[in-house]
């Protein structure tokens, strides 16, 4: 293929097109990252009491500021860190599943990955009376086991078909949700409140201790996920095309599932299954980004933004302090309708 003459005009078109896409990717990611940082910072300053930036900086640097040390250092900072990481993890995991399964509805929360975590947490809280840390550990383990079971049950004739994976996930989720209702029905009123809050997803109990496993998970797994994105992008062209392009499809799929499920599990353990963050972030990030590349990282950033904003809103805007999941759930419902209608009409993916 060496004898071909090059039409300079074509190569110009190709180069400028690629540069344009790269620029847009860069702008969107940097813009989202700045927005996340801004909201993160504001959530440290604002609240029932206002603390000026100087106080916040002093607290972060380890200084002792009257009042702020407790409110910012002990309450707001761990809460904001947890919210940011949880949203980031949910966003990454959600977009990974949606891209891999080529269906914007197939986010891990809809297809039952977090239902195992919910069932385990409810049992841990109501039946075994475990400490929050132990509940988190149990929820993580249960999410991993559930996902593994769904994968195994979808495995047939040397591969996992996307449709089968989705449907079996939904079936398992339906079963586990009835386990959750059963355990709830036998609970004492106070425990029931705790469990319901957990099930909705909230950042109230956020402490560094409870968030540490998530921090480690994100630090270890997010780079792996980003490293896999190139192969994931090739898999968007269909499994066969990707295999022909030299992507080890089944291996990549297993790796993607393991990483995304682990992110999902640790995030769920830290804050409960905050409704719809994994589901909403991918499609919205894809809209913002446009068709210029993988929406996964942008989705992670958007997830962080969504959780931080929704949590702030849930705490201060409504009179009662709601768990953050109530806000994301309420946002999710109309968006779901829009997404269902749109994606089904075009028959398209993300």
């Amino acid at each position: 293929m060496t004898t071909l003459t090059e039409a300079p005009s074509t190569i110009e078109v190709v180069t400028t097109g690629r540069a344009r896409r790269a620029r847009r990717r860069w702008l969107v990611h940097v813009g989202l990252a700045l927005a996340v940082l801004a909201v993160f910072w504001l959530s440290l300053m604002l609240g029932r009491t206002y603390y000026p930036a100087s106080d916040v900086i002093a607290v972060i640097l380890g200084g002792d500021v009257d009042g702020a040390s407790f409110t910012v250092g002990t309450l707001r900072l761990p809460r904001a860190v947890t919210g940011l990481l949880v949203g980031f993890a949910f966003g990454l995991a959600g977009a990974t599943f949606q891209t891999m399964l080529r269906n914007p509805l197939a986010s891990p929360d809809v297809i039952g990955i977090s239902s195992g975590a919910s069932a385990a947490a409810v049992i841990g809280i109501l039946v075994l009376n475990l400490s929050p840390t132990a509940v988190s550990a149990m929820a993580t383990a249960a999410a991993l086991v559930t996902a593994f079971a769904i994968y195994l049950l979808s495995y047939k004739q040397g591969g996992v078909a996307n449709t089968r994976l989705i449907l079996i996930g939904i079936g398992i989720a339906a079963m586990l949700s009835s386990v959750v209702s059963y355990v709830l029905s036998g609970a004492a009123a106070w425990d029931m409140q705790v469990a319901m809050r957990w099930l909705t997803g909230n950042l109230n109990g956020a402490t560094y201790e409870r968030t540490l496993p998530l921090v480690i998970a994100v630090v270890l797994l997010a780079p792996v996920l980003l490293w896999l994105l190139r192969d994931l992008e090739a898999m968007r062209l269909g499994d066969q095309t990707a295999a022909a392009l030299g992507v080890p499809v089944e291996r990549t799929r297993v790796l993607l599932i393991v990483v995304a499920v682990a992110l999902m599990a640790f995030a769920t353990a830290a804050a409960g299954p905050i409704a719809f963050v994994a589901f909403l972030s991918g499609p919205i990030a894809a809209r913002i980004l446009g068709p210029v590349g993988s929406p996964v990282l942008a989705s992670g950033l958007f997830g962080a933004l969504l959780v931080l904003v929704a949590d702030f809103f849930a705490q201060y805007a409504l009179g009662t302090r709601f768990p953050v999941g109530v806000i994301t759930g309420a946002l999710g419902a109309p968006f779901l309708v829009y997404l269902l209608v749109r994606s089904n009409r075009s028959g398209g993916s993300l």
Partner: protein
């Protein structure tokens, strides 16, 4: 092109789950020629193509690329030698033509290595060869079926492989676009010596464009060779179970198959 790559199947058996689809197939792909595989529905044509491009593991026997078992060669290395266009590839929503064609560069890039000027050049070449350069910035969703198929061919061309396998590249295209795509593939073969293997449904187009014709029946090789040797009345009757008449194509002299329905047999015999 110092030495051409070779591809052949040796005692190849294939299947899905319990079901066996292909048995004991020996098939050699002549280098730098156009090979067309024909056969009735569900005879295993596509399965053979998948196995030849290491997408489906062999049950017995092997597919040999340059004399080595294809499953033992690193998949990325295979992807730099052999390209495959499956029957229904999926274009991500909104993706632009040049972006999609660029995806064909995947096997030439490492996990960390950046996009290079070589990659741009390969994409530009692929667009030029397939006549899709003026579509480069359009979204693939907006294109017509024929345009879209040319874009997909451009995607595999950007892969810059000397072997090109295509699974029914003309399905869902009207006859004009079918000829357009086949002409394009012939250009590639004549101008650059690309070895082409494709599955086609239309026997007459197959006869016209093939240098080497392979007829598959029930997962076994029925005949292989020059179209005029392979495509006989007996062959069509055996492979497709169709009464027919084969006449020389007035334009090329290649065989032309005229199907005979139940209502036409008598006339033909007369």
């Amino acid at each position: 092109m110092s030495h051409a790559h070779t591809l052949r199947a040796e005692q190849l058996s294939l299947g899905y789950g319990e079901r066996s689809v292909v048995e004991n197939l020996d098939l050699s792909i002549p280098p730098e020629r156009i090979t067309v595989v024909v056969g009735a529905n569900a005879c295993g044509k596509s399965t053979i193509l998948k196995a030849m491009s290491r997408l489906l593991p062999a049950r017995h026997g092997a597919v040999l690329l340059d004399g080595k078992a294809i499953h033992e060669i690193p998949t990325k290395q295979v992807a730099r030698t052999l390209g495959l266009l499956p029957q229904s590839p999926i274009a991500p929503e909104g993706i632009s033509v040049s972006d999609l064609v660029g995806r064909g560069r995947h096997p030439h890039q490492g996990m960390l290595s950046r996009w290079t000027a070589d990659d741009d050049a390969a994409v530009a070449r692929a667009l030029d060869v397939t006549g899709t350069a003026d579509l480069a910035d359009r979204a693939v969703d907006e294109l017509s079926g024929g345009q879209r198929q040319r874009v997909w061919v451009a995607m595999v061309l950007a892969q810059q492989t000397e072997l090109l396998l295509l699974d029914e590249p003309t399905t869902f295209l009207d006859v004009t676009h079918q000829v357009e795509v086949l002409d394009l593939l012939t250009d590639l073969n004549r101008d650059f010596g690309t070895t082409i293997v494709m599955v086609l449904h239309d026997l007459n187009l197959a006869a016209r464009y093939a240098d080497h014709l392979v007829a598959i029946k029930g997962g076994r090789l029925y005949a292989a060779g020059a179209p005029s040797d392979v495509l006989t009345e007996t062959c069509v009757r055996d492979v497709f179970g169709l009464d027919n008449m084969v006449v020389p194509d007035p334009t090329t002299g290649k065989p032309l198959v005229l199907p005979l329905g139940r209502h036409h047999v008598a006339t033909a015999a007369r």
